[in-house]
Amino acid sequence: MLEVNNLKTHFKTQDGVVKAVDGVSFSLEPGETLGIVGESGSGKSVTALSLMQLNPSPPVSYPEGEILFEGQDLLKASEGRMQKIRGNDIAMIFQDPMTSLNPVFTVGDQIMEAIRIHQQVSKGEAKKRAIQVLRDVGIANPERRVDEYPHQYSGGMRQRAMIAMGLSCNPKVLIADEPTTALDVTIQAQILELMVDLQEKYGTAIVMITHDLGVVAQLADKVMVMYAGRAVEQGPTDDVFYDPMMPYTWSLLRSIPRLDTAGEVRLLPIKGTPPSLIFLPEGCNFNPRCPFVKDECLRIDPALERKKPGHSAACILSPEELENKKHRVDQELGVEG
């Protein structure tokens, strides 16, 4: 349904061209969930905004690639065509629900607006549907809440309202750009659960963008790990999580605490910071921070290649080499007692 091939999203700045997204490919089928994971500045959000064609233009350009949505290339679609797709076929919800709703319009008005742009319905009918989607996302008393302003909602309720707005036209794809980052943990769990329920009910495909590996493990069927604007590992979620083929993914997984191995495995932070997207390192982009770096890594810039069926990674190490190295690190500092 959605197929992205070699997407490149570049921004012209005074310091040079920022290759925010540099050759990313993935696909999404109806009802499927894709998790896009990476650090800040890895190109996750820009990828999402590229799908919506909402990156700020002029600085943005798309020198290569295609985004095929039901066979149509969105990169070549007119602004008018995109306006029909946005909200109706592909909807998006954003990170910070506190600032993502317009403070001077009621929540109901904002949902009704989304409905009425895409569907020829009366105001009364739109309001009925707005109340219905608010009920679907678990807002208590939606008949009253529909006429309230965003500041009368709590953070969790606002994100529910955002989801309601996103789902109000029953889109085929819902892009969620870090939908739980700004919420506290109990609300996070509720929102994620809600998204799973609604996905089952509406059959929406979800692109879940997050830096929270737990969220991906919980929701995603498949995962794409991004680093410095590129996909460095892609595959079914379980495969990627249990047998990461790219040292970066492995490092990410080793940098967060896990309940099942608590006390046995030491946390291993990733050294350094993500590289500047204007001055990328020679060779593999990850080499300055890679725990398994070899001499070749400073020269060879590995492309994404298939390591196992359906599972690809961008690393020159063979799966066996990687396994040995992981094992050695574990022995050196991981296992205690």
């Binding site: 909402l54 029909k84 909807a91 954003f94 910070d96 317009n102 403070p103 001077v104 500041h151």
Partner: protein, 322 residues
């Protein structure tokens, strides 16, 4: 809401009491209103005594204040020292010209500056925005009397010479020869209103530009775009509604001072408004007139402050006064 208004009104009354004391005191300190008579050797001392007694000037300042404020509370601003007419009447005649002048200039400002400020924000650093920045700073740095004189010279003198007939007048509100009428009024009104509008536009267009710029970077505009709205709708509906909030507040606050008249502009154009009257009264020692105008301004400023608060609650749903 109602309790808020009552509290606010009570507080305003306290402010006005203090304002009246300051106004009375400061104007009294400006000099002796009978100085001309006293310097005239042909006026006898007992006549001066008599006149002082008539106006209450022989009493102490607190007594004079109480006498004045008693009249004010009964709606009587006293009698002019110079024109032998009630201050109420003198001020009353000047209100319409001032409201007309200030209203027109603010209308021109709003029609021009707000759309321009919004355009400048949307097309930031375009050549038109840069041009606007240039003229705004020119407007900021030009003294209004200088601008007024230049407008008089260009549109009052040169244009008249070039056209062979008077297009715009440079003083007064009507011309006795032309017999009045709307066209005559517009010919008199244009230049003073334009002077004020140019200076105000510089302020308001910058203000509106920055208010709009603040709003343009908000997340909720991206949400609106993601819904499938056109850029135009996003700007004119979602952004504008938010960007107008500070402007409306500023305007409501400004309204009070506006109605006090524009002293300099009215003086340069001999426009028979409150500002001109105030300058005249102060120079001539017609203190009751000066006090009356200042008190009127104080009341209006306090009143429009209250209006601004209420308007704010109306345009911004986040504000409530419960």
């Amino acid at each position: 809401m109602i309790s808020y208004v009552i509290r606010k009104v009570l507080f305003s009354l306290v402010v006005l009491v203090f304002a009246s004391i300051f106004i009375f005191g400061l104007v009294s300190l400006a000099g002796d209103p009978l100085v001309e008579l006293k310097q005239n050797p042909r006026i006898r001392a007992e006549d001066i005594q008599r006149i002082s007694a008539i106006y209450g000037l022989d009493r102490s300042y607190p007594e004079q204040y109480l006498f004045w404020i008693k009249g004010v509370l009964q709606g009587d601003l006293g009698t002019s020292f110079k024109q032998n007419a009630p201050v109420n009447e003198i001020i009353g005649q000047r209100i319409f010209p001032t409201v007309l002048l200030m209203g027109t200039s603010i209308l021109i400002t709003m029609i021009f500056a707000i759309p321009f400020g919004i355009y400048s924000a949307i097309r930031k650093y375009s050549w038109l925005d840069n041009l606007g920045t240039f003229f705004a700073f020119l407007g900021f740095s030009m003294p209004i009397f200088w601008l007024a004189l230049i407008l008089q010279l260009v549109f009052g003198v040169y244009l008249t010479e070039w056209a062979g007939t008077r297009v715009f007048y440079t003083s007064g509100i009507s011309d006795t020869n032309s017999g009045g009428g709307l066209v005559d009024l517009i010919k008199h009104l244009t230049l003073p209103a334009l002077s004020l509008a140019i200076i105000q536009s510089a302020v308001y267009s910058r203000f509106q530009r920055s208010a709009m710029l603040d709003v343009l970077s908000s997340d909720y505009l991206r949400t609106a775009r993601a819904k499938g709205l056109s850029r135009r709708t996003v700007y004119l509906k979602h952004a504008l509604r938010n960007a107008l909030i500070p402007t409306v507040t500023l305007l409501a606050l400004y309204m009070g001072t506006i109605l006090g008249g524009a002293i300099i502009t009215e003086t340069v154009f001999a426009w028979p408004g409150l500002g001109f009257l105030f300058a005249d009264a102060l120079f001539k020692g017609d203190f009751n007139v000066a006090r009356g105008i200042l008190l009127l301004i104080a009341v209006l400023v306090v009143f429009f402050n209250l209006v601004a608060d209420l308007v704010y609650a109306f345009v911004d749903p986040r504000i409530s006064y419960d």
